[in-house]
Amino acid sequence: MYKTIAIIEKSNIIKEGLTYLLKAHNVCAQIAKLDSIDDWFFIFKDEKPDMIIINPDRLKNTDLDKIRQKIDISDKVPIIGLLYQYFDRDVYNMFSSTIYITDTEDVILSKLRNKQKKEQDTTTGEKLTDREKSVLKLLLKGLSNKEVADKLVISPHTVITHRKNIVEKTGIRSLSGLAIYAILNNITDMDEISAIENFR
């Protein structure tokens, strides 16, 4: 099941109708009904939708890449076009998939669920790699990205990528939170942590 789907559409009838359908079939836990993509940022800020269903009419001269940038979602998050009028082929080719208001319930649901399946298949494993563990260990010793890079003979950019992956895999963003994670998982020892004063 999806967590949050955003429906971006002006017509209330269409919005409510689609919401009803998604609710009745347990497609997602939460539905955000918005008039424009800017409203997402206003209400949800750092959170991300798992899927966007949008009327191309609501794009207002931006393209999908700009939308992804705006709310900072990867291209893995499907953006579905919601069509009920004629659009140029170029317009609907940019969407991950399209639904038409003339589609039957079954067709709409299978289109949406299809996207979801592919999405789940590509999620990565949770365990940190050895490399990530050594990066984490050094960061907790109080080393900067640059220092870690020098020590492991990799570029600072790679260190940043490792950091990003560590945060994604563990679900922990702060260094002191990661310290607890590292100790609980025997990646490092209490006396090897100097990044956090309180822990010494």
Binding site: I43, R173, I180
Partner: protein
């Protein structure tokens, strides 16, 4: 399952709104509105407790994750400021100490080493959030109070606040994951569950709080700054 809709207005019955969106209970708390609401609408409740009706409506809408679609005037922003200040006090004096107490109790049920880490982690968070609130209470809010009286304090601009306004939710998010995923299973204890419940509700509360500051307060003050400058 719930819907995020846009149907809340001044004429909505407050009781119904709360049943749909329990987060609004916090709004009542910070506005000092007692329960026993009967069939009163948002606007009626606002009038009864001397709150600008638009302010109450906008705050409730943010706590229900809907677009406020309203621009507040000076008097209304004044009431919003009071709301934010009362929220700070409530966080500092009630919600966070309660959580700290629960964490201390829970820390006694797990190996000492882990327990100490957990308490140290939360202490670090308390320090962080205290500094955050202090900056707003001592510097930002007084500045805005002055602005509401058409006075500009020198050496400060709301832009500075915008830049410094860090996310205070990160550590709570981390703590949530640590408790759910990483602290090994313990004897069946109420504490871990209670901590999580309170954490999740505090995290949400802080999120709405920040949204009020960033999306309602800051744009208003920016506008005022430009207007005052123009009239000089």
């Amino acid at each position: 399952m719930y819907e995020i809709d846009t149907n809340i207005s001044g004429t909505s019955k407050l009781t119904n709104v709360i049943i749909e969106h329990p987060n609004v209970l916090n709004v009542l708390e910070y506005f000092n509105i007692p329960l026993g609401l009967g069939d009163k609408t948002i606007a009626e409740v606002a009038k009864e407790y001397n709150i600008a009706p638009n302010t109450l409506e906008v705050v409730i809408k943010i706590y229900c994750r809907t677009m406020p679609n309203k621009i507040l005037n000076k008097k209304e922003v004044h009431d919003l400021l009071l709301f934010l200040q009362t929220s700070h006090n409530n966080f500092k004096l009630i919600k966070i100490p309660e959580l700290k107490c629960l964490i201390e109790n829970f820390s006694k049920e797990i190996p000492t080493k882990y327990g100490q880490m957990l308490v140290a982690f939360f202490d670090e968070y308390i320090q962080e959030i205290d500094e955050h609130f202090m900056y707003e209470d001592k510097k930002v809010f007084p500045y805005i109070s002055n602005i509401l009286n058409d006075k500009i304090t020198k050496n400060f601009k709301i832009k500075e606040f915008e830049r410094n306004h860090t996310d205070i939710g990160h550590k709570l998010f981390d703590l949530k994951n640590i408790l759910i995923k990483y602290i090994p299973p313990t004897i069946v204890s109420e504490y871990r569950k209670q901590i999580l419940n309170q954490l999740i509700s505090l995290e949400r509360d802080l999120m709405y709080h920040t949204q009020l500051e960033d999306n309602i307060l800051v744009p208003f003050v920016k506008n005022m700054e430009t207007n005052i400058k123009k009239n000089k």
